[in-house]
Structures are given as C-alpha cells and as structure tokens.
Symmetry: C2
Subunit: 241 residues, 2 copies
DNA sequence: CGAGATTTTGAATTGGGTCAAGTTATGTGG
DNA sequence: CCACATAACTTGACCCAATTCAAAATCTCG
C-alpha cells in the first residue's frame, strides 16, 4: 500500500499504527498530519493474557492495535461470559465505553501486542477541526454497529457449520486485507473462545472443523488452518436450510 | 421532565422530538438551541408497514422517532432475515448507514408513526460547533454498540425462556422510562418478529409466554402483557444453568 | 521429558425446531 | 353491525442438531 511521501506522516506514530482504520483513507494536509501525530504518542506493550482494559474501568481513550490481536468479552452478572469480537492489527477498540464513560466489556491480548492509546478528548477536539477525521470516526463507530448486527444475524439464524464457515471466511478476508494469506493462517484463539463467539460449545466447534476437513473444504491441524475450497465454504454459508 | 423555559426550545421541533436521546441531556445556550432547531425541520408520517428506509438506500439522514415505533431488520442474500431491533419514541435510527453511506438494513413502521429527519451533514457540522452535542452523538452511537453486544450475549448464551424474560424486562424498562406503565403494555410486534429478534421460532416464543403465565409471572392475552412478578422474571433471567 | 491444558471423538440426552391441527383475533365488505 | 376470510396465535406430537458427559489423544512449554 504505497503512501504519499510525507515527512510528518512517515515519522508519525499514526502512519504505522492507525493506518488501516484511522488515517489511511484520509487526505490530510501536512499541518493536519502533524496534529494527528500529537494525538497518539502513547504506545504500550501487552503480553498474551494481559488486559487492555477491564469491565468497569474508567474510559479515557480509544486504542488502535498496532500489532498483535485482542479479544473482547462481556461478563454477565451470573458469571456467564461471551466473546464479542476478535480484533487484529489496525483495528480500533474501546468504542463501547463512550456511552457511559465506563468500559462495558474487557479486552485481553491473545498474543504479544502493541497498542496506541488515543485520548478521546483529543480525538474529539481534533475531529472538530478536521471534518474528514470527524466523518471517519463516525464511520468507524457505524462499522462496529454493522459488524455487531452481522453477528446477531449469525447467532440468530445460522446453524453451527454455517457459523463456523462465516467465521473462517471473515478471518480469511481480514488476513487478506492485511496482505497476509487468505488461505493459510494460525488461529490465535482456542476452540472454547471460538465457541463463545459463535454461540456454540467447544465440542461443536471441534466437530464442525473435523467435518469441514472430511468434506475437503479445509485442512485443520489444531490452530493451523488451510482453506482448500474457499468457494465451497462460501456455498456452505449461503446454503440455508 | 421540566425544562428551562426558552422561547426557542419550546417552539422547536427538537423539544418534542429529539428530547430523550438527542437534546434533553444537553445544556445549551439559546443560540445553540436555535441552531439545533434548524437541524430538524422535516417531519414525516408513516403508517403501519411503511418503510422508513430500505436496504441499499442512500444515506442522508438519521431519524428521530417522534411518536410510534419501528423495527429494523437485516436481509441475508439467501432470503433469511433477522430483526435487529425494535425502536420506540425518542430513539435515533439509521446509525448503521454512516459506515458505507448506504443503509445496511431496513426500518419498518410497526404502527402509525411520526419521524424527524436529521440531515447528517448538518448534524456533523453542528456537532463541530457544539462540543457537548458532539459528545452526545458519540454516546448515542456507542450506546447502540453496547445494546447490540447485549443482544449478542443473549443470542449466544441464553436459553429460550431467559431470552424472552430479558426481552420483556427490557420493554418494561423502556416503557417505564417514557412515563408509561412498567407492568402493563401492548406489544406492537408479532410472535414471529419477537422470535426473529430473539433467535427463536414463533412457536417457541408462544410456548414461553404460556409457560410464564402458568408460572404466574405474567398475564398474556395475545399482545396484551401484564407483568405480575417483575422480580420473578428477573430471577428467571439470572438463573443460568 | 512430563504435567497440565487443549482438542478430538463417541454415546446419550434434550431443548428447541418442525409439522400439523385447532383456536382466536383482525379486518373487510355487505 | 355482522359474516366471513385471512392472519396470528396456541398447543400437541415427533424429531433432530447441538449439548452434555466421558474418555482418549495431542499439544505446549517449563
């Protein structure tokens, strides 16, 4: 993805970090880029299992995943918990907390990761000055709403194997967007976590993997996935009842 | 809900329409209120079954429900459809479309309704001028994300009767917020629509209603609901497996 | 290498779906 | 205002996809 050469941009935290979701689509002046750089000076490292934020934490910042990946999950009073998403490099995380100034879910690193902190006050102030940034922030929030509604469709009306197919195709698409292989990748999450996300038990997820392998749609070796028949998976997804 | 007397506010479309979600929490100067009034001059009437927008429509405006109620639903390629929400008076609708400038779902009136159109360009421009409005718009979007994640939890980890209990309690709470009875109300939606929303078949919804009635938690007469034992419903919701 | 965690697979169970029939609302035209 | 047609809802009987329980296999990593 070639970018316009810009001394500010190339030096900026932003250029590496907020790339995909925050800055890339924007056409900004050098002056604006300079301001944007000031936004995100704070980088933090996380090891697998570390919390980026927890349920109930005070909201101050959004976070841009610079490298690595996270899962977000909500906790119900009775101890039930549900994975609401898996976030990877370039994605923005923490949008849920704006509504109440308290984080409504928790975010856990699934591998060693680096995160850019984006103080929300600054982001709002900047987006008042830069309309294209404002619009882009709105688009990011709206995209999260659309994504969540897609998962509602999945949870509300798909069968186990359709859900897993949708999940694999989604991962494939996202890896591909990031310049990685669309057909070979490592899962960062356990069967249990996939199950939680898809509203299934881990045994059901495992069985669905095995079944796809028997159908010659994929090769699975625990967390190593190779998609053999991508259109086939797509068909399996669309083939309702 | 007493409001500061303001010649602009009292005359405004906004005062009646965007009250709950858009303006009420804001502390604005008369000058700001005047600007806000200019935002939402367009009101439109809808009859039961009318579309507010359809899948694929160009996005121009958000909509504030002035009176009545709507359902939103997404359509999958294969014809599957899923109700993603029921919106009532005071709620803002259409946030999904910001991400792509195309509506990703459709909104249908569940009864005769009146809607205020909020041209999004104007809303953005105004929220650059009024930081508290900006923040509030962000909160509205974030709240939608949190709401959707709550439904993901419901769909992913609750049993049929827990889902219906959660649904009834949510309605109860929202009616109550609007100054209506928390324990007696009319459903505006069919069993089929409730089922779609909750990821259940209509027969299952019907059975769950009957079961709640046998348990003396509610009285149901088709679409007339009376909640007899509100704490009991709450218990049923929390009582996991 | 070994211990604990994760994954796979099998067998039995069950909650919700499916199909079908009957009942109750709702709305329309006479 | 009633009769009728159609839509919406309820209930029962049966079935099946996914869960539960259990055990074995495999992986991970100190």
């Amino acid at each position: 993805m070639p970018q316009p050469a810009s001394i500010y941009h190339s030096k900026s935290v932003c250029s590496s970090c907020n790339l995909a979701e925050l800055c890339l689509p924007l056409d900004l002046s050098n002056n604006e880029l300079l301001k944007l750089d000031e936004l995100s000076m704070l980088k933090r490292d996380f090891s697998r299992g570390d919390y980026l934020y927890r349920n109930g934490d005070k909201f101050r910042s959004l976070f841009a995943i610079h490298s690595g990946s996270f899962k977000t999950q909500i906790l119900h009073e009775d101890g039930r918990e549900q994975v609401t998403g898996f976030q990877m490099t370039g994605e923005i995380i923490g949008l849920d907390a704006i509504s109440t100034d308290i984080h409504a879910c928790e975010a856990v690193a699934m591998e060693n990761s680096v995160v850019c902190e984006l103080p929300f006050n600054k982001l709002e102030s900047l987006s008042r000055q830069i309309p294209s940034l404002q619009r882009h922030l709105h688009k990011i929030m709206s995209r999260e709403i659309v994504r969540d509604q897609g998962i509602m469709l999945l949870l509300g009306s798909m069968r186990a194997e359709e859900r897993l197919a949708a999940f694999l195709l989604n991962l494939s698409q996202r890896f591909s967007t990031r310049g990685l292989s669309a057909t070979q990748f490592q899962l960062r999450m356990s069967r249990q976590e996939i199950g939680s996300y898809l509203g299934l038990k881990l045994e059901t997820v495992s069985r669905a993997f095995s079944h796809f392998q028997n159908e010659r749609l994929i090769n699975v070796k625990v967390r190593t996935i190779e998609i053999i028949d991508l259109p086939g998976l797509q068909t399996c997804l669309n083939a309702s009842r």
